[in-house]
């Protein structure tokens, strides 16, 4: 089937590996991926900060760009939540029946990444291999807005070699909250540190989530601490294929300039070396 990708503005800019991983997984499952290059942003940041007037044209553009598309895969529960929770009321407020109809048709085709795989494509085993101990943080939007159940967990548990460990207090907010992370940086950090403690207590070497916004917060704290825990979007784990220490996806997932990530061994694999520690 032809599946459209709404990459989201921040994944496009900061976490392209997640997008590449989504494409890898969907193509592996035999589907064709379309990326409509006219897309930019769903408008959530503006809307949540109180700039509804600026969010409206962003919504219009998103609806227009995806007119007539196939199912739309969005690797970000928070963006899906913006669309499902607020697009209808924004359109109603604009008193534009055509826009309202457009929103309704659009929403019928929108799927968060794990929803797309499990609910729409009816698949939990995507042929992935990732022999590491992984825990899962559930974003507030995925829990309370999308009411995601166990789709992400089932996907992880089908990955060969993966040892899944549940995260205590997985339903507590990581502290990102969009502009909250900057406007109330100290409180945001305090919340994030509690989350980081829970993650470290699991002994996992990887923390997964369906939202890179949360992972940016959690990963940012872990990295500042020099902790031996990596953050990876669910898609990147599901895209992993080969067994063994030097998984290409992990090298890609480092995603940054050629230098390794400050491990004393230089070129050695951070995950493998952390497992050895």
């Amino acid at each position: 089937m032809l599946i459209d990708l709404f990459i989201t503005c921040y994944n496009d800019t900061l976490f392209p590996e997640t997008g590449k991983a989504v494409v890898t997984v969907l193509e592996r499952l035999g589907h064709q991926v379309e990326f409509r290059e006219a897309q930019t942003c769903c408008g959530q940041m503006h809307f949540n900060t109180g700039y509804a007037a600026e969010a409206l044209p962003l919504m219009r553009r998103t609806i227009d760009v995806f007119r007539g598309s196939g199912p739309i895969c969005v690797p970000s529960a928070s963006c899906v939540s913006m669309m499902r929770d607020h697009y209808p009321s924004l359109a109603a407020e604009a008193e534009d029946p055509a826009l309202q109809a457009g929103v309704e048709a659009f929403l019928a085709r929108v799927y968060e990444f794990s929803e797309l795989l499990v609910d729409k494509l009816q698949v939990t085993d995507v042929g992935a291999t990732f022999p590491h101990k992984v825990t899962l943080h559930t974003s507030c939007h995925s829990l309370r807005s999308l009411h995601l159940a166990d789709q992400p967990v089932r996907l992880l548990q089908a990955v060969r070699g993966l040892e899944f460990v549940a995260l205590p207090h997985h339903d507590e907010c990581c502290g990102f909250g969009g502009t909250f992370a900057v406007k109330n940086a100290e409180v945001s950090t305090a919340m994030g540190l509690e989350k980081v403690r829970s993650i470290q207590d699991t002994g996992a070497s990887v923390c997964a989530a369906g939202d890179n916004s949360c992972l940016m917060q959690i990963g940012g704290l872990l990295h500042r601490q020099g902790a031996a825990v990596r953050c990876l979007h669910l898609a990147e784990i599901l895209a992993a294929r080969e067994a063994g220490a030097n998984l290409p996806v992990l090298r890609q997932a480092q995603g940054r300039p050629e230098r390794s990530r400050g491990t004393p061994e230089g070129g050695s694999h951070p995950i493998a070396s952390s497992a050895e520690r």
Partner: protein, 473 residues
């Protein structure tokens, strides 16, 4: 003048939160207290297979009352008066305080025993009474702790939760002029019992708030745990009650919904120890004179905003405080208002006027835990966003607005977006090392003071896609 305690003069939330975060004793106490209540609430809610139906009914009853608020208030007034009660109306805090003072003075009294009510904290009644030589005695244990300790409440239901037993013991020793006092909680409550009983049996004027005003009977209901409300409501000769106009419910039967929702949400109990319901005056049982002051003090302002009106559903259970990950870190004082936590973040600015307390609607990560537990289904995250919008539209911060407009421009067209990404990658160069930015300039400095920021990779996703060429099937 409309007043919400001292909220008009409170510092901005981020600044207040910073000090609160430094107080590790407070944070430990808050965490301990909210964990316990949350756990208890979870158990007693889980055993109710009709909990969601109760929430629906509670929410719909409250919404219905607001749609016909004038009808229900006048019906309450009529029935309460018929039963011998005297109904007064107060447009704002000062008017309410004046009415209370006039009644007490008319009886030539100079003392009043009080049951906890947030409405009197709103109007700063105690200060007004003391200014004219009337002594108010708080009788709820927590409020007694606050009063004797010259402190401020930090939680709606457990106001002194920021105090541990050692601190409370000190406060009692000094405030009650005791020479000795045991260290166990039981010793502390015994001391409170003795100190207050003398007042209960003697002081002829009592003051309370109300949880519910029953329109079809004129009855008033107060929900409590300690027995001090029963004391203040029954023993004095004169009773004065102050209640927000949103407290009215249509019928006696409707209490079946709220008396299930409130105790389970507030303290995690199937039923709180005591509920008292009285209707006007009953000869031979209780006060000979009953006055009720119906208080507006900004509530009609909240009513006027149809999208935020739901705020008035609140039954003051504080389940939202206990669920809030922000409150958990800072406690209540950081909100600078007697109404703290999620409900405080939406109620305080609306009552006061949006030009005060502007930082409160931003004191949230919009996680939604509050909405999940609210027994009357106030969609707090939705209202927070709505209030942020009002702040931006009514008095938007200039620089932020500029930045937001800039971002909107970048998103308006994929070419400008690509251009902005290119510029961003260029500008980050001096700050980026090993794929991360450790010290960012400008507003992002607040992020990098405690966290690393991922640098923008060389190639965005769309650049990768464009370079990739024809898709593989």
């Amino acid at each position: 003048m409309i007043r919400v305690g001292d909220a008009a003069r409170a510092p901005e939330f981020p600044d207040a939160a910073r000090s609160a975060l430094a107080n590790t004793q407070l944070r430990r106490n808050v965490r301990h207290a909210t964990d316990i209540i949350r756990g208890k609430r979870g158990l007693v809610v889980a055993e109710m297979d009709d909990w969601q139906a109760l929430r629906d009914a509670g929410s719909r009853i409250k919404a219905h009352v607001l749609e016909h608020l004038d009808t229900y208030l006048t019906r309450f007034e009529e029935n309460c008066t018929r039963a011998g009660g005297q109904v007064h109306w107060a447009a704002d805090a000062d008017e309410a305080n004046r009415i209370v003072i006039d009644i007490i003075r008319a009886h030539g009294q100079s003392e009043v025993i009080k049951v906890k009510t947030m409405t009197s904290d709103e109007t700063r009644l105690n200060r007004a009474l003391e200014a004219v030589g009337i002594a108010p005695y708080e009788t709820d244990l927590a409020d007694l702790i606050i009063q004797l300790g010259n402190d401020r409440p930090s939680h709606i239901v457990v106001p002194a939760l920021h105090r541990n037993r050692a601190e409370i013991r000190e406060i009692f020793l000094r405030g009650m002029h005791l020479t000795e006092l045991g260290r166990e909680p039981e010793d502390l409550t015994t001391a409170a019992r003795g100190f207050l009983r003398e007042k209960f049996l003697r002081v002829p004027v009592g003051f309370s708030g109300a949880n519910f005003l029953v329109a079809d009977t004129g009855g008033v209901c107060v929900v409590e745990s300690e027995g001090n409300a029963r004391m203040c409501l029954t023993l004095p000769r004169v009773l004065i009650t102050m209640a927000g106009i949103e407290k009215v419910v249509p019928t006696f039967q409707d209490l079946e919904v709220f008396l299930q929702l409130l105790p389970r949400s507030a303290t995690g109990e199937r039923m709180n120890p005591y509920n008292t319901l009285w209707t006007g005056i009953t000869p031979g049982d209780g006060p000979r004179e009953f006055h009720i002051v119906l208080l507006d003090n900004g509530r009609t302002r909240v009513l006027a905003d149809a999208q935020a009106r739901e705020t008035l559903h609140c039954i003051r259970c504080a389940a939202c405080l206990n669920a809030c990950p922000v409150y958990r870190q800072t406690g209540g004082h950081a909100y600078g208002s007697i109404y703290s936590g999620p409900i405080g973040a939406i109620l305080t600015p609306q009552l006061q006027g949006m030009e005060h307390s502007q930082s409160l609607p931003y004191a949230s990560s919009l996680c939604g835990a509050c909405y999940e537990v609210c027994p009357v289904k106030i969609n707090i995250p939705e209202i927070l966003i709505h209030l942020r919008r009002r702040i931006v539209e009514e008095q938007g911060p200039y620089l932020e607005r500029l930045a937001m407009k800039g971002a909107a421009l970048a998103f308006a067209d994929p070419r400008w977006f690509r251009c902005a990404q290119t510029i961003g990658r260029f500008l980050q160069r001096p700050f980026e090392r090993d794929g991360y930015v450790r010290t960012a300039p400008g507003p992002m400095a607040a992020w990098t003071s405690t966290r690393d920021l991922p640098a923008m990779p060389r190639q965005s996703f769309r650049q990768w896609w464009a370079a990739r060429g024809a898709p593989r099937a």
